[in-house]
């Protein structure tokens, strides 16, 4: 399907900017493992402080790359499946807002004035530009949702009784979740933090700020995950040579995410004060609920791949696993998705541990957490994103993939790296190894009094995995930027593989309308969050003055 020059440029910029920043993001990822393994015992390297690098790693990889990709991929799915292009002014407005916001935040971080990590918990204070930049990036990513909803309503009037294409349903559900949850972080950033960082307000209610952040923080995780789920449901079965096992399974999973993504945020605060244990119990139960769609997806994708394997002549219970196009360089998207799914088996299951009430005491804020989330956001999500970025780049510019034989290996190399890396981190985490800490300075420094030898094997494993991940990342950059500089050799158009469904159930109104689900979502959010906010306001003490990461004395 041909797209206008304007939309093509918007999507290409929204892919190029984050992938270029990703070079810095992945460099700081490697540096984390180098510092933590005690290879170097210093607070900074190449004039970039450890915590400055950790902030850059988190913000670039987990906020900028993910938000830019979600918008670019949203444009592609809406355009391809609804056969209508988003409004030109809206796409450029959102692009400019997002790029400006990113540049502002990047300036603050690179100037070393915003080393507050991507969770920016107060009373640690960042440069006001960091908060303004973050707010602009988020508002910029709201604009497409309202535009897409108009396009969708037009399409709905013209096709009253046809099923919403699964990819469009996924994109709209994803951005409704995104808009709902970012209201809380926008309030936190613009009302609680910005005036406080500028000196207009003396103190900030710390637990309230943390609660508003995690109202947004967990839905953010599903905002990362849903684009990958859309690719798994709509593209993976076709690329593997089969059909999606059940269309309604996908719809149910997406609507369950819509209902339960936001209200579960409190499971990030099991160790926080000022929140009652009953609120934490509610969050545990709701989080078990939001695990259901992922189990549905695991089963549905396995059935779809088994169907494809049988089509390719597989036999027996697990024969289908061997009959799939793992190393077919023309179907490289299969590798990017299956490697991510293999990681997601471990990532998803360890996530259930983290959200299980008292079990969280064993792992909270230890390096088990980065071990877990490098098999979720840096596993299926990251691989699906960089795979689809390459795919859209090649489709929109009409250029063939540079070094396809290298490209097809990248996801598997990354998977092996992450498995070793996460094994090291989780093993260390169970021994109490803290996350977000420059271990090389003290705990992994043999001639420091705080030296902690038990963490040597775990940090070395993480280092080994980190090096392999870095190698895979560099290979990807060679392929991605190599493709940009190739000559145009084919028609430039957007084509997304669209799987048929084996069980293509008939049109059900409930699974093709948003209103009832949104109402239920708001009710569940009220049930989960009103008691929590009341706790925080009732039990909390005085607000906190700002602190710079570098000095114990409060003040700007």
């Amino acid at each position: 399907m041909k797209v206008s020059r304007s939309l093509k440029n918007v999507i290409l910029i929204e892919l190029f900017v984050p992938i270029t920043l990703l070079i810095l993001g992945i460099y700081h990822g490697l540096m984390q493992t180098v510092y933590r393994a005690g290879v170097i015992h210093q607070s900074s390297a190449v004039k970039l402080d450890y915590y400055q690098g950790l902030t850059l790693h988190g913000v670039i990889n987990a906020v900028v790359l993910t938000t830019f990709f979600a918008v670019a991929f949203g444009h592609a799915t809406i355009t391809y499946y609804l056969k209508k292009e988003p409004n030109k002014k809206a796409t450029w407005t959102s692009l400019i807002l997002m790029v400006t916001g990113t540049l502002l935040a990047a300036y603050a971080m690179l100037a070393g004035k915003a080393s507050v990590l991507y969770t920016f918990y107060p009373p640690l204070k960042a440069h006001p530009l960091f908060y303004i930049g973050t707010a602009m990036l988020i508002v910029g990513s709201w604009v497409p949702l309202f535009d897409w909803l108009n396009v969708y309503r037009q399409w709905k009037r013209e096709n009253p009784h046809t099923k919403i294409p699964l990819a469009v349903l996924g994109t709209l559900v994803n951005f409704i979740i995104w808009f709902t949850c970012t209201l809380a972080v926008a309030y936190e950033v613009l009302v609680l933090l910005l005036p406080w960082a500028l000196g207009f307000k003396a103190t900030v209610n710390v637990t309230l700020a943390r609660t508003l952040f995690w109202f947004f923080g967990h839905a953010l995780v599903y905002f990362w995950l849903l684009p990958a789920y859309i690719m798994f449901y709509t593209m993976l079965p076709k690329i593997a040579g089969g059909k999606l096992y059940s269309d309604n399974a996908g719809r149910i999973a997406l609507f369950l995410f819509l209902l339960l993504s936001v209200p579960v945020g409190v499971h990030h605060q099991f160790s926080d004060p000022n929140i009652s244990q009953s609120s934490k119990w509610v969050s545990t139960i709701l989080t078990f609920g939001v695990a259901v769609p992922s189990f549905i997806t695991a089963f549905t994708l396995a059935a779809s791949l088994e169907y494809a394997g049988k089509k390719n002549g597989a036999k027996g219970l697990f024969g289908w696993m061997g009959k799939l196009p793992y190393l077919d360089h023309n179907k490289y998207m299969f590798g990017y998705m299956i490697a991510g799914l293999i990681l997601f088996i471990f990532g998803g299951l360890t996530g259930i541990v983290n959200s299980s009430y008292a079990l969280n005491n064993v792992v909270h804020n230890t390096s088990w957490l980065p071990g877990h989330f490098h098999m979720t956001v840096a596993g299926p999500v990251f691989l699906a994103m960089i795979g689809m970025s390459l795919y859209l780049l090649s489709a929109l510019t009409g250029k063939k993939i540079f070094l396809p034989k290298l490209n097809v290996v990248v996801p598997y190399l990354w998977m092996i790296g992450v498995l070793i890396f996460s094994a090291g981190l989780m093993y260390g985490g169970l021994m109490g190894e803290p996350r977000r800490t420059n271990l090389g300075m003290t705990y992994l420094n043999p001639n420091h009094e705080l030296y902690h030898p038990q963490w040597v094997p775990s940090t070395l494993l993480a280092l080994a995995g980190g090096i392999i991940m870095f190698a895979a990342g560099m290979c990807y950059f060679i392929v991605f930027f190599g493709t940009i500089f190739k000559k145009k050799t084919q028609e430039a158009e957007v084509y997304l593989p669209d799987s048929e469904s084996y069980h293509d159930e008939k049109y059900i109104p409930l699974f093709n309308s948003f209103k009832p689900w949104i109402i239920m979502m708001v009710i569940i959010i009220i049930i989960a969050y009103v008691p929590t906010i009341l706790d925080v306001l009732r039990l909390g003490g005085p607000g906190a003055p700002p602190h710079l990461p570098s000095s114990p004395t409060p003040g700007l």
């Binding site: 244990q277 009430y357 804020n365 109490g432 977000r436 039990l539 602190h547 990461p549």
Partner: protein, 151 residues
């Protein structure tokens, strides 16, 4: 509406969730472990000190600051049951005794409480596991559980 094998998958997932929830309820009911207790804010908790209630019960009022814990060394006898009340004097800190499942956040304007029984002698490290500025990696205190003779 939905294929029966999909329904079975949902059913099995629901059963596993019920089993996990029962295990959690069991272990919380038996007072084996729990998440931190909720204590309404009160200024008296913000001065670091150790109270000895009786021969084996202690109250530790710990305050995390940029970049050490006060009190930084806590001596208790073997078999002591210690109530930790934790708060912060500035930014958010962590308060983690990994060997004993003590995992709390020290937050300004918030009092966190948990109880732990030290049955084995030894030195238990209290590690700050939440980024709190440039000195974060130096923040570690100790609970010294030694033989019946305290000092």
């Amino acid at each position: 509406m939905l294929d029966k094998y999909e329904g079975k998958a949902i059913g099995i997932t629901a059963i596993i969730i019920m089993v996990f929830l029962f295990s959690l309820l069991y272990v919380t009911g038996k007072q084996k472990t729990d998440v931190v207790e909720c204590v309404p804010y009160d200024k008296t908790y913000t001065t670091p000190r150790i109270n000895q209630i009786d021969s084996t019960t202690y109250q530790v009022f710990a305050v995390a600051k940029m970049w050490n814990f006060e009190p930084s060394q806590i001596y208790v006898p073997v078999g002591a049951e210690v109530d930790f009340f934790v708060t912060s004097g500035d930014v958010v800190h962590g308060f983690n005794i990994a060997e004993k499942n003590v995992n709390m956040m020290a937050v300004y304007g918030g009092i966190n409480k948990t109880t732990v029984k030290f049955t084995e002698p030894g030195i238990y490290k209290i590690t700050c596991h939440e980024y709190c500025g440039v000195g974060h990696q130096n923040m570690q205190a100790e609970v010294i559980v030694n033989y019946p003779n305290n000092y």
